[in-house]
């Protein structure tokens, strides 16, 4: 990969997609949920580079969706071990990797209600690489302890679990997840370690030196903008327009 130019010639979303692309690695099938345009960008980027590998299933797409057995097939497929990578966000995420997609406050009398757990209480257990992402990195979202565990970051040894979180990508940094804890892995250009500490509600491991997240290469940016972005417009029209300036016309491409 070429060195990135020193001046900032990319948008935050492009940086995050580039980070996620590297996390995906060499796999066979990546599934992307409904409200995940940045992970979708990353997955399509991996597929471009892999000459068609991996399968990328964008769950709300028709063109990028290979499922023909109804809405249950994603979950069955994951249960079979055929989904290698999935993405989860959360109203709250805590330092143990627990995610909350339900509500804050007492469950019986909540303060804020989120949409609900979707498939997290299953997929988090059975997809080998679950990548957490949250573009709002704050003490409101990254908390010491979630108010409701939609899906736990780790499980007891005798609980069947073939998957779980491997990383958390935010607008400020990348954490990796191992042994039940987050480790600060890199800080994005324009952000600092102190800022990450200040805005994170949970404790995390901080190595002696924390590198800066590399900027996307010009080749990556070109691929993303010219090849991937038009493919996003079907499922994420607003995102494709705002980030890449791609209007509905590109859809037909």
């Amino acid at each position: 990969m070429n060195a990135a130019p020193r001046e900032r010639n990319f948008r935050d979303e492009e940086l995050l997609a580039d980070v996620i692309e590297r996390l995906i690695g060499d796999v066979r099938h990546v599934a992307v949920g409904n409200a995940s345009p940045i992970p979708a960008t990353a997955a399509l980027l991996v597929r471009e580079r892999g000459k068609g590998r991996p399968y990328v299933s964008l769950l709300q797409s028709r063109k990028h969706n290979f499922f023909t057995d109804g809405a249950r097939e994603l979950f069955d497929c994951a249960g079979q071990g055929r989904i290698d990578v999935f993405f989860l966000s959360g109203g709250q995420i805590d330092g143990q990797g627990n995610v909350n997609l339900v509500s804050t406050g007492d469950y019986a009398h909540p303060k804020v209600r989120f949409p609900g757990s979707f498939g997290s209480a299953y997929l988090y257990y059975v997809v080998p690489k679950v990548i957490l992402f949250r573009t709002e990195h704050s003490r409101r979202t990254l908390v010491s302890r979630v108010d409701f565990i939609s899906a736990p970051g780790t499980s007891q040894a005798n609980v069947y679990r073939s998957g779980g979180p491997i990383a958390l990508v935010t607008n400020r940094c990348l954490f990796s997840f191992a042994n039940g804890r987050f480790v600060l892995t890199s800080v994005h250009p324009g952000h600092t370690i102190d800022e990450v500490v200040e805005n994170t509600g949970f404790d995390f491991e901080k190595p002696a030196t924390v590198p800066q997240t590399p900027a996307p290469s010009s080749e990556t940016l070109a691929l993303m903008r010219e090849i991937v972005a038009p493919q996003l417009a079907e499922v994420y029209p607003q995102f494709a327009m705002q980030v890449f300036g791609i209007g509905p016309a590109a859809f037909a491409r």
Binding site: N34, A35, Q60, R62, F67, T68, D69, G70, A71, R72, E73, F75, D76, G79, L101, V102, S103, Y107, H109, P110, K111, V112, R113, F114, P115, G116, S117, F118, G119, S120, A121, Y122, L123, Y124, Y125, V126, F148, I149, S150, A151, P152, S155, Q156, N158, V159, Y160, Y236, P237, Q238
Partner: protein
Amino acid sequence: MGKVVTAQHRAIVQATMFQLAKSIDDAIAPIVDGCMLVVPREVSGVPMAATRALIRRGVKRLHLVALPTSSMQADLLIGTGSVETLETSAVSLGEFGPAPRFAAAIISGAIKMKDATCPALHAALQASEKGVPFMPLRGLIGSDVLKYRNDWKVIDSPFGNADPIVLLPAIKPDVALIHAPMADQFGNLWIGRQRELATMAHAADKTIATVEKIHEGNLLDDPTLAAGTLPGFYIESIALAERGAWPLGLPDFYVADSDHLAEYARMAATTEGFADYLERYVYERRAA
């Protein structure tokens, strides 16, 4: 006696076995107050015209199961006070934001919420499809979704060694309400890839469908069409409803009406705005 029915006559008498409903209102008559109603997720053919008809009729105390999630349909039914219990994995307007009537009803305690996770709902419907009292499912253990569902049980798998697994009780809806691209005069329904609609119909006691059009001939006669067809013996009633999923889309046929959904999200954000929305788009039958 020697007079026997001719082959031509046969085709005619078979055709009379199933009667298309005269109206959406007639078709939805079996959805009575207090029944358990299962509806599909937002990309599977949501019967929005039928939902508006239900609201106009004033349906009450529904146990609404959204398989596995819902968007505007559940929000509307909740906002109109039609729902007593909601069982689903999520309600959201997607890129148009949170589902305002859903969130308000949870905060105020106006509905009983049974939080689930998508594959658990699929499995619980499949239990009824298979006529078994429960289905096992991995995951869930350690989740608060399980913690608050005292109708779900954890057993030690008899095939494992200290291997806990969750058993989900079967969900057996009284009625499945769906919207599909087409039906034929024999009551067969073409659902294509949306096979959760088949599971819903198999699991439910009765299935009611609205459709975009009536297919000439028998859908089961063509092997290619038959592969995506739900046979008529699962179907209670069918009514024609062109653009019956509006303002939601019907995959492969028409896309969602984004402007209208944005308008809904804006209006439904307040009680007053929601009342205006109903007046303009539901009770006025403008879109029915």
